[in-house]
Structure formats: C-alpha cells, structure tokens
C-alpha cells in the first residue's frame, strides 16, 4: 500500500498539516498575478460594466474564471517543469527578432497600463483629499525601496497584504444593499433586464473589455517569471496548479462584488459612469459615506498592485529575453538593469499621467489595442511550448488542454479585436 512519504496512515492530521504547509510554501505567484489582474484599470472596467449593464454582466465572470485559471496554469506548469521563464523559452526556441518584437510591444503596452494606474491614483487621491503629487512620489519611493532593497519574500508578503484591501469591495457591495438572489442567479444565466439591441451591443463591448483587462500579456509573463524567481520546481506542481485555480477564483470573487456595488446603486438608478474612478464618488449617495470611501481605498490598493506587478513583469521579461541577471533576491549592483528598468517605467508613466490635457480614455484604448495584438503571439508560444513533449516530459499539455486553450485564445483575441474596433469605430 503506498502512502505519503513517511506519514503514517493512522495520523491523518499530520498528513493534512504537511500538505497545508506545502501549499503555504508555494502560495503567492498565482494569487498575486490574479489579484493584479484586477488593477485600477480592471476595477474601472468592472465598475463601468456594473453601472452600464447591471447584474447580467456577472455572467461573463462565469466564462472568464476558468479561462484565466487555465491559461495561468499553463504558464505556471511550463516554468516549474522547465525551470525557465516564458520569455527565456521564447528567446531560446524562437530567436532574437520575435523576442524583440514581443518585448517592444510589452514595454509600450505596460507603460500604457501604468499610466492608467497613475491616473486612477490621481482621481481617487483628489476624492479622498490626499495631496496627489506627494502621494504619488511617496508611493514611487516606497515601491522602489522595497523592490530593490527587499527580498522576494518581502515583495510577495507586501503584495499579498495589499490584496487583502480588496475586501473593501465586499463591504461596499454589502452596504449598497443589492438583490443577492438576482446577482447570484445572473452568474449562471443573464436575466432581469430588457435585452434591447442597444443593450446587447454595450454588453458585447463591455464584456470583452472585462475579458481584456483580466487576461493580459503581462499577466502571462508575470506568473511565469514570479514563479521562476521563487525557485520552485515540479515537485510541488500539484499545489501550484491548485493555487492558479484558486487565484482565478479569488480575483473574480472580488470582481463580483465590484460589479454588484455599482449595479445595485448606479445601474438601478440609470446613472452612467464616464470613468471608472468616478464610481467611488458616485455610489456614495446611495451606499453611504463608508462604502464610497472603502471603494476608493480599494482602487488605491488595486493601483498599487499594478504599479508593482506591471513594471516587474517588463523588467523580468527583459532580463529573460536578454539573459541578464534579474531577481528580487539579488542586490541592486548585480541586477542593475532589472531594477533600473523597473523604476524607469514608473517615472515615465508618472510623467505621462501628469501631462495636462492628455486623454486617458484614448490612452486606455491604445493600450488595450496593443495588448490585443500581443496576446495572440504570447498565447501561440505559450501553447506551443507547453505542448512540446521534449520540453515538458510527462507534464505536457493534454490534448484537451491544447485544444481548449487554443480555442480560448482565438475567442479572447476575437473579443479584444472586436472591443477595440467597437470603441474606435463606434460600431
């Protein structure tokens, strides 16, 4: 009879304790990546979705969650088995031109994403009566200090701690006294509104926007690099796989409450949001002072997640593509390029966001377009690598995984293209 290594069958508690310890030790990369997918841009999109479409948009979460879980799992598995990051493998298997192309796209798109994070901090900061410029500079300094001086563990702990602030959305949602029955049933099938042509058009565009902010190129690179930097291997693969699905569930668990908070207040009263950050201000009269403030704090936490994770994903990818030293555990001197690239993006994005008169809406659209263009490339290589038996051995994609993700990527790409098209050309 086979048993877990050295654990007597008669002591199930010890076995469970051991499993829990392993789970805790691998815990982090997938959860942080998934939570960062709900960055300021993500929260804005969900807020608009809830305000414009009401509960029926919740059904989209039902589709996004498994999609996010499966694509993230593939990146995680690829890294744990090959002991290399996604960018490492793309460079090694496909050479310089494609690496440069993907990196350039990622760099620009991430810069765009970062700019929207800063813009969100600005909007919410004014609302909470925080002096924006000192706040932004302070945030930058804090992020730079703990990234360069701290270790992997410290960064991971801070990010996990910040993601606890997402609980504020749950409170905001509860305070807005939603119809829970209607909300939950809309997860399974969309109902409860009049499905006019105009509504369906908005549903399509916004639904795809939601997909686009949740499943991103940087998310694919980040989970792989962050797992690599954690120096994990395939001994704990099962636990890490479990974490990717848990992360996907958790992020959409919070998305649910963001949508509920705006759907039950703004949609119900026909108030249209022009920007996501307004949501915190807008729900105040209906859900109360506390709910509005908590919502704003949630956006700040989300923006901070983005401020750390998005530029880290670029810096990690650069180090991998060009083989430089890039680890949160290395000191500033030996990973100079890595850290310099991290802070450079933050400064550039902060300056971009500070340009008066710049249209953040157009910025968001351009970023979304670029992401939509890179994503098919990233998925193509991700699926190809994870389906290569020479690379993956026994952990190669099953036929179902390859097919499902291939179709899912086609779906995501089509969705992204449609969204961008609809927004630019006002289809």
């Amino acid at each position: 009879m086979t048993q877990g290594a050295g654990v007597p069958r008669s002591r199930p508690f010890a076995r469970w304790a051991r499993r829990a310890a392993i789970l805790l030790s691998v815990f982090g990369p997938a959860t942080i990546t998934a939570m960062a997918d709900n960055d300021a841009g993500g929260v804005a999109t969900y807020s608009i979705a809830g305000a414009t479409l009401g509960y029926p948009i919740l059904f989209v979460l039902f589709i996004i969650t498994p999609l996010l879980g499966i694509t993230q799992e593939m990146g995680m598995r690829l890294t744990l088995v090959t002991r290399r990051g996604l960018a490492d493998l793309i460079r090694e298997k496909n050479g310089v031109p494609i690496s440069l192309l993907i990196f350039a796209g990622l760099f620009v798109a991430n810069l765009g994403t970062l700019t929207t994070e800063f813009a969100a901090i600005g909007t919410v900061g004014r609302m909470l009566r925080i002096p924006v410029a000192p706040f932004v500079i302070g945030t930058l300094l804090v992020a730079f200090l703990f990234i360069t001086q701290g270790s992997y563990r410290l960064t991971q702990s801070i990010m996990l701690l910040v993601s606890l602030f997402y609980v504020t959305y749950v409170i905001s949602a509860v305070r807005s006294r939603p119809d829970w029955g209607l909300a939950l049933s809309n997860l399974v099938y969309p109902h409860g509104v009049r499905f006019t042509g105009e509504y369906l058009r908005s549903y399509l565009i916004i639904g795809m926007g939601v997909l686009g902010t949740t499943i991103t190129p940087w998310g694919q690179f980040f989970i792989s690099s962050f797992a690599f930097d954690k120096k994990m291997n395939q001994d704990t693969l099962k636990y890490s796989q479990l974490e990717t699905y848990w992360g996907a569930f958790l992020t959409d668990f919070f998305s649910f409450f963001i949508i509920v908070a705006t759907a039950s207040t703004l949609f119900a009263r026909g108030i249209i949001l022009t920007s996501g950050e307004q949501a915190a201000e807008a729900i105040r009269p209906f859900a109360g002072e506390l709910a509005g403030t908590l919502f704003a704090v949630g956006i700040l936490a989300a923006a901070f997640m983005g401020l750390v994770v998005v530029p880290l994903s670029t810096a990690y990818a650069f180090s991998e593509f060009f083989g430089l030293s890039g680890s949160l555990d290395s000191d500033y001197q030996s990973s100079k390029t890595f850290y310099a690239l991290f802070i450079l993006q933050l400064i550039m994005a902060a300056l971009l966001a500070a340009i008066p008169g710049i249209s953040l809406f157009h910025f968001a659209i351009a970023t979304q377009t670029l992401n939509a263009m890179i994503l098919p490339l990233v998925f193509y290589y991700l699926i190809r690598l994870a389906s290569d038996p020479r690379l993956m051995g026994a952990q190669v994609n099953t036929r179902f995984q390859t097919r499902f993700t291939a179709w899912a990527s086609i779906f995501i790409v089509a969705a992204s293209v449609l969204t961008v098209g609809a927004l630019i050309f006002r289809w």
């Binding site: 490492d88 090694e92 050479g95 310089v96 440069l100 060009f322 083989g323 430089l324 030293s325 890039g326």
Partner: protein
C-alpha cells in the same frame, strides 16, 4: 570571419548547382587538445525534411551559396556522436551563467573562422551588435556607433572561456564575468597556432618511436617540448632514448625541472647517464655555455673565398669577428680575425695569415676558468674543443663573463655581441 546568423538560411546546392535546400544548422565537434570545436557537418533543410551532410562533402561552407562536391543522393551519411554540438539548436540564444550561477548574458551569435581547410568556432558573440545582426541592422548599428565614436566590437568571448556541459542547459563561464573584460577574444593568429600544434600533436601520436624521434630532432627544442606536453612520461622517455644524446639533452633542458627528473628516472640507465652528463655541462661548463653558431673554414681556402663564405654564413653566425680553421677531422688548427682577413690580398691562402697557436678551452672547463682565459688574452670569444682537439663551439665573452662581472658593471660595458645579427 563569419557568423552563424549569416550562414543559416543560405541556399545549399549540389555539384551541378541545383538548389537542394537551405542551411538549417551547423554541427561542430570538440577536438582533443584544441579549445575550439571544428565544424563537422551541416543540417540541410529541404522539402524532404532535415538531413545531416558531412563537412567533407561540401565544396565550401563560408560562401553565399553552399555547394556540395557531389549530388545529394551520393553524399555520404553523417554519423552523430554524443559530443557533437548543433550550433543553432544547442548554443545560439543560450543563457550564459557566471561561475557563481548568476545570469550574465545570452549567446547572441557565434563566430566561425576558416583555418587550414577547417571551419572552427572561435568566439561567442554576446554584444549588442550581435542582436542587431540577428534583426538585420548590423550595418546601421556600426554606422551609428562610428558616429558616436563608440567601440561596438567588444562582446566576443572566446570559446575557451565558456563551457556547454549539457546540451539542453545553460552554458557556464569558466572565468568570473568580472575578469572577462581583461581576456581578449580569440583571433585568427592564435587559432592557427593552436590548431597547428594540435594537428602536429595528433600526427605525432600516430608515429612509432623511431619516426617520432627523427621528427623531433628536426624541430626547435622549445617547440619539441610543447609538442610532447600531452604525451605520457613513459612514451617520452622511450623517445628520448631513441634520440641522439645531445638532442635529447636539449629537449630535456626545455622541460620543467620536475618532469625532467621523472623522465631521467624512466630512461634506460646508460642513456640516462649520458644525458645527465650533458645536462651537467649545461649548468656550469663550456659545453653548456657554448654556441655552435660560429664560422669555421678549411685550410685550403683563400681570403677572397672566405669573405664570400662569410657573406653567406655570416647571417646565421652569432659571431663573425673570429674565423676558425679546421682540418678534415674537424680539429681546430688555426684562427684569424676579421681585420686579418680584410687586410690580406684576395688570393692569399688563409694559412699564410692565420694564427696557429690557438687559445681554447675544453668542454669541461668551468665558467670561472673560461672567464679568466677570456680576460687574460683579451678575447671576444674562445673556442671549445674536446680531448681530440675537435672544435665543438665557442663561448662568447658575454656568456663567459656573465657570472663573474656584477650585472651593474656589465651594463656599462659596450655590448659587442648580438650587434652582428
């Protein structure tokens, strides 16, 4: 030099010039005693799939189109070995790790050079220029660099300094990256020397003892020593026994001291004693100090003939100021100086102006005594003879006085010798 990124994708043709596919990869094989792998085959990508073609079947590799010497059907098959390296698949874009395991850089390109009919891997290119070359912007990069006055040629690491342990894993630096800047990349001259040496050594190993000894006697001693560097001591000892004792002595003198002692113990005692005796000279006697690059003529020559001879032989000689006269048995019978020769009438036989009482030393004469002789008779050089008065060489005053006169003094003396060269 050529880069692998430039080679891949080039058309491959058969002997009739018909295009049969493109070059996909290059296979190199490490060679014993040579730090750089040598190209052994190419991987041809054709409509029928991949195929390995031995380098020996190629008419050229580093050319715009790669022609075979034969048709594709007649081309010999290539047998892969465990140690074979596929440059594109196994090396290009590979991560290079520092000696402590930290990531340093990636292999952006691989440099190939043609030497003695082989194509050899010289360096891995880790520079920015390598990246630009891969996307076709090398010329633009060079132009910009020139405008900015920056040196973009850096970024090549000699293959000596990296190692590929496992084909599917990262390469490692053999020296810490911090020291890398001080190490120059391999250049053609160095590769040629290394390759020649490796080839000679490879050739020598296939010879029997007699052939090996004869071959070595033809080579300069310092080069002999380096050729035998990788031979086992037993074999070297056998070769030394085969060689003439004085040749063996010269060779041993070039070897490191500890290896020399070991070799002498391995040699048959008779031969070893003889060599030891000669080595003994080496240290402190005329036999060891002397040079054989002197001018000697026979007694029947005239002044004019001697001058003619000096013109030819003078180049090689260490000293032409003294001309020694020997008989048919190589015995020293006279000496005259360059001034004696020049003032003599051209048709005068040399026997008429040569000095018959020659001051000489024997092979065993110790350095102190040679020095005394040199200074007593005010000589520039003194001939060395054996018991039968046969001439073996000369000791120049320079060498004789080496030990006796303190260095500081010697520096103040005019340096006569060596100026003749």
């Amino acid at each position: 030099m050529t880069f692998i990124s430039e080679l891949t994708g080039r058309p491959v043709t058969d002997v009739d010039g018909k295009r049969i596919g493109t070059l996909k990869d290059v296979v190199a094989r490490p060679v014993r005693m040579f730090a750089h792998p040598v190209v052994n085959a190419i991987i041809l990508q054709s409509s029928a799939g991949e195929r390995a073609i031995p380098y020996s079947e190629l008419a050229a590799l580093l050319s715009a189109a790669i022609p075979l010497k034969t048709t594709l059907q007649k081309a010999a098959p290539y047998e892969f070995q465990e140690t074979d390296i596929r440059l594109v698949q196994d090396v290009l874009d590979k991560q290079i790790l520092d000696t402590d395991g930290a990531r340093v850089v990636r292999v952006n390109d691989i440099e190939l050079v043609r030497v003695n009919g082989h194509v050899v891997i010289t360096n891995v290119d880790v520079g920015f220029l390598g990246i630009l070359r891969r996307i076709g912007f090398e010329r633009l990069g060079r132009w910009v660099a020139k405008r900015l006055g920056k040196d973009m040629t850096s970024g090549a690491i000699s293959w000596d300094f990296v190692e590929l342990l496992m084909h599917d894993q990262a390469m490692r630096l053999r020296v810490p990256s911090s020291k890398l800047a001080n190490l120059h990349p391999s250049d053609l001259a160095e590769i040629i020397t290394d390759l020649n040496r490796a080839e000679h050594a490879g050739l020598l190993q296939s010879l029997d003892l007699k052939q090996l000894a004869d071959t070595l006697e033809e080579v300069e001693p310092d080069f002999q020593a380096s050729l035998l560097q990788h031979f086992p001591d037993e074999k070297v000892a056998d070769v030394l026994e085969e060689m003439a004792p004085d040749e063996a002595t010269d060779l041993l003198a070039e070897m490191p001291k500890d290896r020399r002692q070991g070799l002498l113990q391995l040699m048959e005692s008779d031969e070893a004693d003889e060599v030891r005796e000669l080595l003994q000279y080496d240290e402190e006697s005329a036999g060891g100090l002397m040079t054989t690059k002197y001018i000697a003529v026979t007694a029947e020559m005239t002044a004019a003939q001697t001058i003619e001879h000096l013109r030819k032989a003078g180049e090689e000689a260490e000293l032409i100021y003294y001309v020694y006269v020997v008989d048919a048995g190589e015995r020293l019978i006279g000496v005259f100086s360059l001034s004696d020769l020049i003032v003599a009438q051209p048709q005068t036989p040399i026997t008429e102006f040569m000095h018959k009482r020659v001051v000489s030393v024997t092979l065993e004469t110790r350095q102190d005594d040679i020095a005394q002789t040199v200074s007593k008779y005010n000589l520039i050089a003194v001939p060395v003879v054996d018991a039968e008065h046969r001439l073996h060489g000369i000791v120049t005053a320079d060498d004789a006085l080496d030990k006796i006169i303190p260095t500081a003094w010697k520096k103040r003396l005019p340096h006569f010798f060596g100026a003749s060269q």
